[in-house]
Symmetry: C2
Subunit: 279 residues, 2 copies
């Protein structure tokens, strides 16, 4: 099997590492605009060698793991370049624009739109790790638009990665992921910004930061190059979540301002059930 | 040594567990309004037996680890009840109101106001754990108002717990802790609320929640009984942090609305340095 990974970062690299352990005879090729990433990925044993788009004609499997704005540009090119039996999988955090851009491509049936809900706040080949996807959810969109043989191949791969599969239409994916992922990133980035602005002259203050702050602000370490295009592509949904979040924060502030501590208590108590929900 | 722990929860219980391992001859007494907590703490080996306020006259050390509204009420009573050589330590998340309530007490010099920056989102005796405080920061306020002998005893205890000490005046503590702790809790609670409200009829949606959401929403599992009085006592500072946080979120939303993605990128990139700050 010849596997081509386009974008050798946290996600692309981690998929390669896991697949390598299951398909020992496979050869892994890397394509990345960043030459350092390619060199590093070879050194780390993530890929066997670099490749070019022209070579994609030889691919059995292509994983597209690039920022979602880049995915919109390269996915049609990748589909142009492959052979009739290849499977192309993208793993971006938005699904509607991506499904739309390939909707009428003559090789649409070679493509599968997915979103593995896995990752860390780090990026680049060094961030790649084994078993990143084990017991994580993979959202698959428009499965019916992928040819049966390619579906089967993809599901076999995801099973080997240890993923749970959920099927969803791209619009619903983008709407819900705005709440459970994109909003968290913004809330975390703005929390980090608020605290840094306030405490800029008092570095020592961060000695006071405990594990609670660290956990809440962790996502503010994420890559702006990855997240800016996600926010752009999912703008409408994200603005909706932000408006609701700001309303809830403002309401909470008003409760404090009005000394309505019974309601302050109730707000927190009713949110405590996130414990059970996340179990 | 006779140690009395008032409030056998996560913090009080964890202090007891650590001190037990260093002072094997010490006897640990528990005082708690919740009888179940006392029974459980005895079963878990956190305390040796229950006690009453009358017995505090025998105490060498009293740890007050109750919600901060309760601390305001009981601290003067505890100081009334102890002997001249005892040390009383409180561990609450607000320091100005607590220092104020004991300011003119005739036993002020037996008291030390502290805030160990350590914890989890769980509460009760079952949440207590060994080594919770190792390499964590302990903020000590108004050290000069504590008698030298009691200072020495306290610093010896904190050294055994493995804590780093920072000295700070109570007003500064409350102001800064609003940013690095209290605001995080509210941002997390309101994130949880926003998502639960939206997704209340779609439990499956939480299958889409990854480790990022879990980390950002973790503090929304915290105890409302503990946090409501903290927010009440630190209201002015917290409202200030909330106003800045809401402004920053609104600005970010406006950038999205105006398709100003260069600035969206810059906002995130400049916040990325939280990585270095938290190192």
């Amino acid at each position: 099997m010849k596997v081509y990974i386009i974008g050798i970062g946290l996600i692309g690299g981690s998929i390669a590492l896991d697949l390598k352990s299951h398909f020992r005879e496979a050869i892994f090729f890397g394509i990345d605009t960043n030459e350092n990433n390619l060199e590093e990925a070879i050194k780390l044993g993530i890929i066997d060698q670099k490749a070019t788009y022209e070579e994609l004609i030889n691919a059995d499997l292509v994983i597209v793991a690039v920022p979602v704005d880049v995915a919109l540009v390269i996915l049609p090119e990748v589909l142009n370049a492959i052979n009739d039996d290849a499977l192309v999988i993208d793993v971006g955090s938005t699904k509607f624009p991506i499904c739309e851009v390939v909707a009428n491509h003559e090789r649409r049936r070679n493509f599968l739109a997915t979103h593995p809900i896995a990752g860390t706040e780090f990026s680049g080949p060094k961030a790649a790790m084994n078993e990143l996807f084990r017991e994580k959810t993979n959202i698959i969109c428009e499965i019916e638009k992928t040819a049966y043989k390619q579906q089967e191949m993809a599901l076999n791969l995801f099973q080997k990665l240890g993923m749970r599969i959920r099927y969803m239409d791209p619009k619903s994916h983008d709407k819900h992921i705005a709440y459970v992922s994109h909003l968290s990133h913004i809330s975390s980035f703005m929390l980090g910004k608020t605290v840094i602005e306030k405490e800029k002259n008092e570095r020592d203050i961060f000695d006071m930061a405990g594990s609670g702050f660290e956990s809440t602000v962790r996502l503010a370490k994420s890559s702006p190059a990855m997240w800016t295009p996600i926010f752009k592509q999912n703008k409408i949904n994200i603005i909706e979540t932000l408006e609701e979040y700001i309303l809830n924060l403002t309401h909470f502030k008003d409760l404090l301002q009005n000394d309505n501590y019974d309601e302050v208590f109730n707000e927190m108590e009713s949110t405590n059930r996130i414990k059970e929900i996340l179990k």
